[in-house]
């Protein structure tokens, strides 16, 4: 017992004394072979995805990033809590890294878990500039496993980021090949009746909205750790082992629904923070989120990791097997979901021509904060309750989707699908306290023009959101668009409101489904200037982005006693 105690003490001291790792990363032009196509892209240390950086909690890391490109670059350490100058967002944290230059990041690692890193310059990230971060904890993990793998997903597209952005601006449905066709009209007519179908098309046509508007950018190949479905990433295991899979969604635009047919997964971590374990059959991973799951594989079989895109336009696939060469069946893609009137939320009051000022008017309706609005729209206002979904009673429900939403996920085996409401912190980091104020952020946009904004204002036209060090801010996200937005706050934790008080989970990305209101709270404990944006690459680049300025704090000499005056630009 004494010996053990001594070892523990020693192990505790080690990080303080010895742990100061130095890492070198080069930013390079690389070839990315997805199996479907080969594309010039950007990678780290000569490959995309880049290396898995393994840090130790308590370590002081020094990372030398050499830019071998002929353009500016940057690396953002996604989800890491660090001084803002080290956060890697050009124009906010630092100017960026010039071609040929080596920039040295240096920061203490104050957390553990699964994270990732990526370029925050232009469209380098969708072009391949991303890698994984694994931080070993100082103490023991609150779970056990025999082996672990990073499972980093992405949606590699044959077009470059610039070209995709340009095409979307020219025609927002440029990449949408799931639009409803004449054939769909006739088959739906046969099923539901001609007039019902016609009325349905008229309603949507009247709003100039598309039910099939779920994935803006289709035509990608889903990759796991850089390997396409045919290249089949392989994770080996020994029967009886417990395997930890660190899922990271590094996609530019794609949400994935992940399952491993035949295996139950126990979710133990979300966005790098341990959660009270939840057994699930399937889960949805938003863009830039991470989920760690443990699977216990008892037999000597191969299992398919199957990650279907939320809009079912593509998938990533890998295999867990006891030996190389073994594969399991790859499921068919399920039918593409369609948005319902419930997902339209704010658009419904204005059937007619003028959508110009809908943002203001609709707030009264949305303010109640609940999602009953969608239901009201479906059954009351429209009078065509059965149109989008004949059997409401059997519809799955999830408080994080509008009631009657077409996006509510279900497990393919009929089992448990993870919901945000299942996420509870394993160990609360902050004391639960009343927020000092609320800031409402309406997620706004115009799909037809492919313009995305917050409170109707794009980044370039907006003032920063000003927060005061030491306050606890409650952010109210009101999604007035029909797209799902993964909102990412840099530098400080997003405490997702799931109604569990101090057990509300800590995240770095909060996915907000169409026509829903979601709350998160933030302990403003990181001085400096931070980025805050939708993590869909082309939404952020279109303007769904803000700078957050945290005034005051330990390092500040200016802001002391200045707490009285300023409010955030958005409140």
């Amino acid at each position: 017992m004494n010996k053990g105690f001594l070892l523990t003490i020693l192990a505790g001291l080690l990080p303080l004394t010895l742990l100061a790792g130095e890492y070198d990363i080069s930013v390079d032009r690389v070839q990315i072979d997805t199996g479907d196509f080969v594309k010039e892209g950007i990678g780290y240390n000569g490959a995309s995805p880049g290396p898995v950086l393994r840090f130790q909690e308590g370590e002081e890391v020094t990372i030398n990033v050499t830019n071998n490109l002929d353009e500016m670059t940057s690396i953002h350490w996604h989800g890491l809590i660090l001084p803002f100058e080290q956060d890697g967002v050009p124009g906010i944290s630092f100017p960026g890294i010039k071609p040929g230059e080596t920039f040295t990041y240096k920061f203490p690692v104050v957390q553990n878990g699964t994270y990732w890193f990526h370029s925050h310059s232009g469209f380098q990230e969708p072009n391949g500039a991303y890698g994984a971060i694994v931080i070993e904890p100082e103490g023991r993990e609150p779970f056990r496993y025999d082996r672990e793998y990073v499972v980093q997903l992405t949606d590699k597209h044959p077009h470059s980021g610039d070209r995709i952005m340009r095409n979307l601006k020219m025609s927002a449905d440029y990449y949408n090949r799931q639009q409803q066709t004449v054939g769909d009209f006739f088959s739906e007519s046969a099923e539901k009746g001609f007039m019902v179908t016609l009325m349905d098309r008229m309603m949507w046509g009247d709003m100039r909205m598309m039910k099939a508007d779920i994935e803006d950018v289709q035509g990608f190949t889903g990759l796991i750790n850089g390997k396409g479905p045919e290249q089949n990433w392989l994770g080996l295991f020994k029967p009886g082992e417990r395997v930890r899979l660190r899922f990271i969604n590094s996609s530019a635009m794609t949400y994935f629904d992940i399952r491993i047919p035949g295996l139950e997964m126990t979710v133990v971590q979300a966005d790098g923070n341990n959660v009270q374990p939840v057994n699930v059959d399937e889960f949805r991973i938003g863009v830039a989120e991470t989920y760690d799951v443990i699977v216990h594989i008892k037999d000597e079989e191969a299992y398919t990791i199957f990650a279907e895109s939320m809009g079912r336009s593509g998938y990533a696939r890998g295999t867990l097997a006891p030996e190389d060469g073994m594969t399991a069946e790859v499921p068919e893609l399920r039918q593409a979901p369609l948005l319902t009137m419930a997902d339209m939320g704010g658009h419904m009051d204005h059937g007619g021509m003028d959508h110009g000022d809908m943002n203001e008017d609709d707030m009264a309706g949305m303010d109640s904060g609940d999602m009953a609005m969608g239901a009201e729209v479906d059954h009351g206002a429209m009078g065509h309750g059965s149109m989008d979904h004949g059997d409401d009673a059997s519809l799955p429900e999830d408080p994080f989707y509008a009631k009657g939403s077409g996006l509510v996920p279900t497990a393919s085996n009929g089992g448990k699908f993870l919901s945000y409401s299942d996420l509870k912190a394993q160990k609360p980091l902050y004391e639960d306290r009343e927020p000092t104020r609320e800031i409402e952020l309406r997620l706004t946009g115009n799909m037809e023009r492919y313009e995305w904004s917050i409170n109707g204002t794009k980044y370039e036209d907006a003032d920063p959101i000003v927060l005061q060090y030491g306050e606890r801010v409650r952010f109210k996200f009101v999604n007035e668009t029909m797209m799902t937005h993964p909102m990412h706050l840099h530098g400080m934790w997003s405490i997702l409101e799931v109604g569990e008080g101090k057990w509300n989970p800590l995240k770095h990305v909060i996915s907000v489904a169409p026509a829903t209101t979601v709350y998160m709270e933030t302990e403003v404990d990181a001085p400096g200037e931070w980025a805050f944006h939708c993590h869909l690459s082309y939404h952020a680049a279109s303007g769904m982005f803000r700078k957050i300025v945290v005034e005051g704090g330990p390092d500040s000499t200016v802001a002391e006693g200045k707490l009285s005056g300023k409010q955030g630009g958005e409140s």
């Binding site: 952005m165 095409n167 601006k169 066709t181 004449v182 100039r208 003028d354 370039e460």
Partner: protein, 247 residues
């Protein structure tokens, strides 16, 4: 032609000069995180037409743009090359600035320079373009020529998805003049209509979509008389083959 080229260049330069201060004066930081200006070149129609009276035409209709969400500069071009006369029957170049006025509608203003075979005209243009309910793409313009004549055109297009790659597009175009401009064959009142149906296939993304189709052109009243007097036809059916191109 050289005069046209010169005027085009001049306009393009003016457009660029106008665009620069309006779009690029923000601080450098914001610029690195969002895309601010965009461009595109496309030809909605690039086709060969063969009429029921054995007339052969090459038709091109397209645009190039540069600009931001708030302000775009467009060069719109439309030409009909008549094989028999070896000449441009129609040749229009429009240089307009376009800005959103509501969620689905843009207003535009600029000039139009017509330099076909025969007399040239320069017009002032005021237009509205956008997406009407039920997915009709609409474009309508008021023109006032250097001769003082005013006219209005109206174009609508509807796309019907047979599949997500096979697309039928139906187009309707009409021109109404408020006064006569005999020299260029424009009569007062309803001038002409053009109705087209094209079946296209998206061969390479939406960048190259070959199509076949049928187009019906008709001239009315005074305009029809003017056409007859000039020895032209007043009603034509065309078989068309071509491609929609977009960069």
């Amino acid at each position: 032609m050289s005069r046209l080229t010169a005027s085009m260049c001049g306009l393009a330069l003016t457009a660029t000069a106008l665009a620069t201060p309006a779009i690029a004066q923000e601080d450098a930081g914001k610029e690195t995180q969002t895309s601010r200006t965009f461009w595109g070149v496309s030809a909605e129609k690039f086709e060969y037409r063969y009429s029921d009276s054995d007339e052969e035409l090459a038709v091109i209709e397209g645009d190039a743009y540069y600009g931001s969400d708030e302000l775009k500069f467009l060069w719109l071009f439309e030409g009909e090359w008549e094989e028999a006369h070896n000449a441009w029957e129609t040749l229009e170049n429009q240089f307009v600035a376009q800005t959103p006025v509501s969620d689905f509608w843009d207003a535009k203003a600029g000039i139009r320079v017509d330099t076909p075979e025969g007399p040239d005209r320069v017009f002032g243009v005021l237009g509205l373009t956008g997406l009407a309910p039920y997915w009709f793409e609409v474009d309508t313009n008021l023109y006032v020529s250097d001769e003082g004549d005013a006219s209005v055109d109206f174009e609508a297009e509807y796309e019907l998805l047979i599949t997500n790659y096979w697309i039928v597009s139906a187009t309707f175009e009409t021109l109404v003049a408020f006064s006569e401009d005999k020299e260029i064959g424009v009569g007062q009142g309803l001038n002409s209509t053009e109705v087209g149906v094209r079946l296209s296939y998206d061969l390479i993304d939406r960048a190259f979509s070959p199509y076949v189709g049928v187009v019906h052109e008709r001239k009315y009243s005074d305009t029809a008389d003017l056409a007859r007097d000039a020895g032209g036809s007043t009603e034509d059916w065309f078989a068309v083959v071509g491609a929609r191109i977009s960069f």
